[in-house]
Amino acid sequence: MTALATQSHAIPHAVMAPELAWVGMAMLLPLLSSVVCALCGALRVKSKLPAIVTAISLASSFAIILRAYSAYTGPVDVPIFEWMSFEWGRGGSFHSFTANCALYIDALTLYWMLFVTGLGTLITIYASEYMEGDRGAGYCRFFFAISIFLFAMSALVLGDNLAMLYLGWEGVGLASYLLIGYNYDRPSAVAAAKKAFIMNRIGDLGLALGIFMLWANYGTIQYSELFVAMSSGGQTAVDWHVSAIPFLLMLGAFGKSAQIPLFTWLPDAMEGPTPVSALIHAATMVTAGVYLIARLYPFFELHPQALATVAWIGGGTALVAATIGMAQYDIKRVFAYSTISQLGYMFLGLGVGTTFGACYHTLTHAFFKALLFLAAGAIMHGFAGQLDLRKLSGLRHIPGWRIVSWTMFVGCLWLAAFPFTAAFFSKDAILLQALSSDRADFRALGWLGLLTAALTAYYTFRVWFRVCAGPVHFEAGTEAPHDHGAHHDADHARQKGHDRHSAAVHAAFHPHAPRWAINGVLIVLAIGSLVVGVPAYKAVFLHEDNWAQQMIAHSSAVQGAMLSNDHAHSEGHAPTMLGMDVHTGLTVVGSSAAIGGILVAWFFHLHSRRRADQVRGELLRRWWLGWIPTAMEHKWYVDEVYHVTFRSTMWIGAQILNFADRHFLDAFVVDGVAKIPLALGRVFRPLYSGALQGYAVTMAGGVALVLAWASWVWLRGAQ
C-alpha cells in the first residue's frame, strides 16, 4: 500500500485516467448479475443459481476494488460512456450541461466501496441459505433486486457527477422498494415499501434541487470541476441561491439516511426479509446520506449554520431514536431504531467537523449492525418468525444456538460501545470533536451524545439479556417455518412435517437451528468487527495515524479545505472536561456510561424481570408520568402526526378537487357553456309557431327594423 502522503488541506485535482476503465466493472458486474437473475426468473430456474451468480459478481467486484485500492495514487476521473450531455451557445457565450457515465475514484470512494461490496458478498452468502425455502420465482426476484441495489450503490459511490449520484440514489430507493415489498401478499409489506419509496422521493427532490442549484451557480455538476470552481472561489453571487445548496443537499441526505424529518420509513422497512434489513437498511444504503455530505463537504461550509444544523439534527435523531428503541418489543424494530440513532451520531460527527469520526463510525457500525441483524434473522428463521423479546428467552442454552447467541453478544458489545471495542473508538472520535469544540452548542451535543450512549447500551443489552440469557422459554411465531416467500412450496411443508398452525403447542415445536452458511457468516462478521477496530488500536497504542483518518484526509471530505479554517484548534487553552483533559475525561465518562447502561439492563432484564414490569406499572399509574412509556411505545406518535398533518389534509384536498373537477368544472362550466346556444334556441322558438300571418308580421317588422338601422347608420355616417 503506497504511503499516502499527507496532503495539504486543498482537495487534490483529479487526473483523467481512461485506462482505469476496468474499475467500472465493479459497478457493471452487479448489473450483469441482475440480468442473469431476471433471466433465471423468466426461465423459472429452481436451483440456487441466482444466489451463486450474485455472490460471485459481488466478490469479484470486491476484488476489483481491492486491486484499485492497492494501485491508488491520487484522485482519478475515468470516463466510460456519454449519458446526458449537450451544448448550446447564443451570441458567443457557450454553455453546456454534461452528465456522463464516468467514475471519480478517490480515497473516500474506495473506503466506501470496500465495505459496501465486502458486506454485500457476505450477506448474499447468508441470504442464499436464508431464502432457500423460497426457491423459484421469489428467489430470482430477491437476488435480482439485491444485484440492482449493489449496482445502484456502486453507481452512487463511484459516479463522477451528481447526476450519476442521483441515478444511484433513486436506484437504491427502487431496490429497497422491491425488497421491502418482497412478500407482496402481505399488505403491511406493500404499504411499508410504498412509504419508504415516497419518503426517499421527498429527499430526492431536495437532492435534485440542490444539484440544479449547484449547476446554476457553478455551471457544472462534475465533482472534479466543482472542487476546482469551489477552490478558486468560482461561485458567481453569494446570495440565498448559493447558501441554499447545503440545506437542499442536507434534505436529500436526511431522506435517505432516515433522520428526524424523514425517519419513520426505516422501522417499517423491517417488513422486508432480514438479509435486506441487514445489507440495505443497516449497512450500506442508509450511509448514502453520510457519503453525500462527506463528498460535498466543502459546499457545506458555504453557509455558517449548515454544519450546525447537521449536527443538531444528528444529535436530536440519536436521542429520539434511542428513547423509542428502549420501548420496542420487536428485536428488528429495536435494531432499526438503533441504526437511526447511530446514523444520528455519524451526522453529529459530520456536523461538528470530524468527517474521519463519522466515516470510521460508519465502517464499524456497518459491521456490527449487519452482525446483529443477521443474528436476529437467524432467530426469526429458526423460531418461525418469532421476534417478540417477551416470548423468547435463554437462547444461549439451546443446543445449536450458541454461535448465534455469542456472535450476537459481540454485536451488542460493539453497539453499546463497550470500552476498547472498535465502536467505542469511533464514537469516541465523534464525541471528542464535539466536546473539544469551542462552540457551546457543540459541547452540549457532545454531552447529549454521551447520554444517548448510555441509553444505547441499556436497550442493546435489554434485548440480549431478554433473548439470549435467562431460563429457556420460547414460543413459535405465526409465520410459516421460515419468514419468506408468499406461497411456500408444498414439498417444504412436508419436509418439516410439523403442524404450522398451533403456535401455542410448545412441545411439538423445536427451533430450526441455522446451518453452516448462516453461522459462518455470523462468525466472519464478528471477526470483521474486531478487525475493523485494528486501525483504532494502532492509533491508540502505537500512536500511528488511523488508516481511516488517512483515507478520509486524502479525499474531498476534509474539514476547512476551502475556507480559512476559522475555528482551528487554538492549541493555547486545552479544552477541558470535568477538570480533566478531554481525552481522558471522555474515555472515563464514555465507558462508565456504557457499563452503567449494561448493568441497568442486566438488573431489569435478567436479574429480576418482574421488577421491570412493576416499574412500568407504577409509571403508568402516575398520570403525569404515565404518558411517557405509552408515547415511547407508540414512537412518540410521529407517524400519526405525519398522517394527520400531511396525508389526511392532502387526501381531503384531493377529494374536494376530484369532486370539483367532475361536478363543477366539467358538469357546470363546460356543459353550461354548451347549453347556452340551446337556451338561446328556446328563446327564439315561439317565432316559428306555424301561423302564416305570424310569419308575415315578423318579416314586416324585421324589414322595418333593418331599414331603421340602415338609415340610423347612414345619418350617423353623413354628419
Binding site: L680, Y688, M699, G702, V706, L707, W709, A710
Partner: protein, 529 residues
C-alpha cells in the same frame, strides 16, 4: 346559324333548349302509357345534359363581351352549375312524384285520368325554374332581372303543392306562395325606387349613374332605400333573416325531393341576383370627405348597405345555427342549416369585388353537393311508405343501410366544415374573402357559429353510425327506385373528390366573377392583384 342571331340571343341557346324540353315533358306527361311517364325524369336529364353540352359551344368569350352584360362571364360558371345540380335534383325525385297515383293506376284500382297525373307538370316546372335561374345571369336590365326571378320562384310554388300527397305539402305551398308574393312586391318596389333615382332600367346605365352619384356627393336617398328594399326582398329567396321564417315549415312540409330543389336553386338564383344588384352599386366604395377636406376612398359597399348586410349576415348565421339545435325532424334541421349557410354566404357578398364573388360560387358548389347528398340519402329511404323525417328513424341506420349511413355522415361532416371535405375549403375561402374586406368581427362570428353547428351536425353523423337501432328505425326500408341511392353515393363521394379540385373551382369562379369594364368615366376596380 347560331352566330347569325344577335349576340345576346346566341347566349340563350341553353335556355331555349330547356324551354323546349319543358314543353315536350309537359305534353308527354299526359300519355296513357306508363313507360312514357316513367321515362319523363330521364328525358328531363337528357335535356339538361344537352344544355350543358351546348353551353361552351355557344357561350364564347367574345360573344359574351360584346353582349353588354353586367357580369359577362358569370353565366359560363353559373349555368353549368345549375344544370349539373339540376340533373342530380331530377334523379333524386325519380319514382316519388305521383307515386301513390301511379301505384293505384298500375294496380287497376283507378282508371288513368290525365287530369290527376302531375308528373309531367312537375318536371316541366322544374325545367322552367332552372331556365329562370339560367336567364338571370344574362340580365341586362331590371325587367329581365324581375322576370327571371319570378320565373325561378313561380314554378317552385306549384312544385311544392303538386310534388307530394296529403295536407302538409299544401300547407307548405300556401305559406311559401303568400310570403313569396309579399317579398316579390317588396323588391319590385325597390326596383321602382332604383329606376326613379337612376332614371334608367339598363343595369350598365344604373351602375354608371350610381357611380356618378357616388363620385358626386354620395348616392342619393331614393336609390339607397331602393337598393335596401331589393336586398331585403331577395333575402326571401336566399332564406336570410328577416325573410327566413317560411323555410322550416316549407322544407318540412314539402316532399324531400322538392325540399332539395328549394334548398339549392332559389338560393343560387337569389345570390346571383344579389351579386348583380350589388355590382351595380359597386364595391369600389365611396368617397367620404374627411373633416380636413381630403377625399378618402373606402373599399367596400356604401356604409348603409354594408350595415344591412352585416346585420343580415350575423343574424342569419346565429338564428340558423341556434334554431337547428332543438329540432327532432331531420328536414326541419336541414332548413335551419340552409339558413345558417346563407348567413355565411352573405359574408361573401360583403367582401364582394373579386374575392367575395368567387368564394360565394365555390361555396354554392360545395353547398349544393352537400345538401343534395343529404337529401338524396333521406329520399332513398322510407318508413311504411312515408318519408323519413325524425332523427329516431335514422338511429342505427348502419345496420340495414350502411352506404346511406356513411353518405349521411360524410355530408354532415362536410357541412360542419371538417377539413378534408369540400365544405372546409369553401368555408376558408369565404373567411379569406371576409378578411380581404377587413371584416375580422364577422369571421369570429362565423367561427363561433360553425362551432355551434358542430353540435347538430355531429348528431346527424353519430345517429346513423353509432346509435343503437330503435323500434322505428327497424321499419326503415329503401325506396323501390335505385336512382336516389345513386345520387346520394355520387354526391357523397363528390364531397371528398371535389376538395382535391378546390383550387381549380376557385380559379373558375374567379374568372366568372370579373365584371364588365365600365365606361372610362369611373375607374373600375382592377383585376385581382
Amino acid at each position: 346559324m347560331i352566330d347569325s342571331l344577335s349576340p345576346r340571343l346566341a347566349l340563350l341557346v341553353p335556355e331555349m333548349m330547356l324551354l323546349a324540353g319543358a314543353v315536350v315533358v309537359a305534353l308527354m306527361g299526359l300519355s296513357k302509357r306508363r313507360g312514357v311517364r316513367d321515362a319523363l325524369p330521364f328525358i328531363t336529364c337528357g335535356v339538361l345534359l344537352l344544355s350543358i353540352i351546348a353551353l361552351p359551344l355557344t357561350y364564347t368569350t367574345p360573344r359574351a363581351l360584346d353582349a353588354h352584360l353586367l357580369l359577362p362571364l358569370l353565366g359560363r360558371f353559373v349555368k353549368p352549375l345549375i344544370a349539373v345540380m339540376g340533373v342530380w335534383l331530377v334523379l333524386l325525385s325519380v319514382g316519388s312524384v305521383d307515386r301513390r297515383l301511379e301505384d293505384s293506376v298500375a294496380r287497376g284500382r283507378q282508371p288513368f285520368d290525365a287530369q290527376r297525373v302531375a308528373r309531367g307538370e312537375y318536371y316541366a316546372f322544374l325545367l322552367l325554374s332552372l331556365m329562370g335561374a339560367m336567364l338571370l345571369c344574362n340580365a341586362t336590365d331590371l325587367i329581365w332581372l324581375f322576370l327571371a326571378i319570378e320565373l325561378v320562384s313561380l314554378p317552385t310554388y306549384i312544385m311544392v303543392a303538386v310534388g307530394g300527397h296529403g295536407s302538409r305539402p299544401q300547407e307548405a305551398a300556401v305559406k311559401y306562395f303568400f310570403l313569396g308574393a309579399m317579398s316579390t312586391a317588396v323588391f319590385l318596389y325597390g326596383f321602382a325606387l332604383l329606376y326613379g333615382s337612376t332614371g334608367s332600367l339598363e343595369l350598365l346605365a344604373i351602375r354608371d349613374a350610381l357611380a356618378a352619384q357616388a363620385a358626386g356627393n354620395g348616392i342619393d336617398g331614393l336609390a339607397m332605400i331602393g337598393i335596401a328594399l331589393i336586398v331585403l326582398g331577395l333575402c326571401f329567396k336566399v332564406t336570410a333573416v328577416p325573410m327566413h321564417f317560411y323555410a322550416p315549415d316549407v322544407y318540412e312540409g314539402a316532399p324531400t325531393h322538392v325540399s332539395a330543389f328549394l334548398s339549392f336553386v332559389p338560393k343560387t338564383a337569389g345570390f346571383t341576383a344579389l351579386v348583380i344588384i350589388l355590382t351595380c352599386v359597386g364595391w369600389t366604395g365611396h368617397a367620404i370627405i374627411a373633416p380636413d377636406g381630403v377625399r378618402v376612398q373606402y373599399l367596400g359597399l356604401p356604409t348603409p348597405i354594408a350595415a344591412i348586410l352585416w346585420m343580415v349576415a350575423v343574424l342569419t348565421m346565429t338564428l340558423g345555427n341556434i334554431g337547428a339545435l332543438l329540432q327532432t325532424s331531420v328536414k326541419r334541421m336541414m332548413a335551419y342549416s340552409s339558413i345558417a349557410h346563407s348567413g355565411y354566404l352573405v359574408l361573401g357578398l360583403i367582401a364582394g369585388a373579386s374575392a367575395g364573388i368567387d368564394a360565394i360560387y365555390l361555396y354554392l358548389v360545395a353547398y349544393g353537393v352537400m345538401t343534395i347528398a343529404t337529401f338524396a340519402a333521406l329520399a332513398s329511404l322510407e318508413r311504411r311508405g312515408e318519408e323519413i323525417n325524425a332523427f329516431s328513424d335514422l338511429a342505427g341506420l348502419r345496420v340495414r343501410h350502411p352506404v346511406m349511413a356513411w353518405v349521411l355522415a360524410m355530408s354532415a361532416l362536410s357541412l360542419v366544415g371538417m377539413p378534408p371535405f369540400i365544405g372546409f375549403f369553401a368555408k376558408i375561402s369565404l373567411f379569406i374573402a371576409a378578411f380581404e374586406a377587413n371584416q375580422l368581427g364577422l369571421v369570429i362570428a362565423a367561427v363561433i357559429n360553425s362551432a355551434i353547428s358542430g353540435l347538430y351536425y355531429l348528431r346527424l353523423t353519430l345517429t346513423p353510425l353509432v346509435a343503437p337501432p330503435t323500434a322505428r328505425s327497424h321499419e326503415v326500408t329503401s325506396v323501390p327506385s335505385r336512382w336516389p341511392q345513386v345520387t346520394a353515393v355520387v354526391c357523397g363521394l363528390a364531397t371528398i373528390v371535389l376538395s382535391c379540385a378546390a383550387g381549380a373551382l376557385l380559379d373558375a369562379a374567379r374568372s366568372a366573377g370579373a365584371s364588365a369594364p365600365s365606361t372610362p368615366s369611373t375607374h373600375s376596380h382592377g383585376e385581382h392583384p
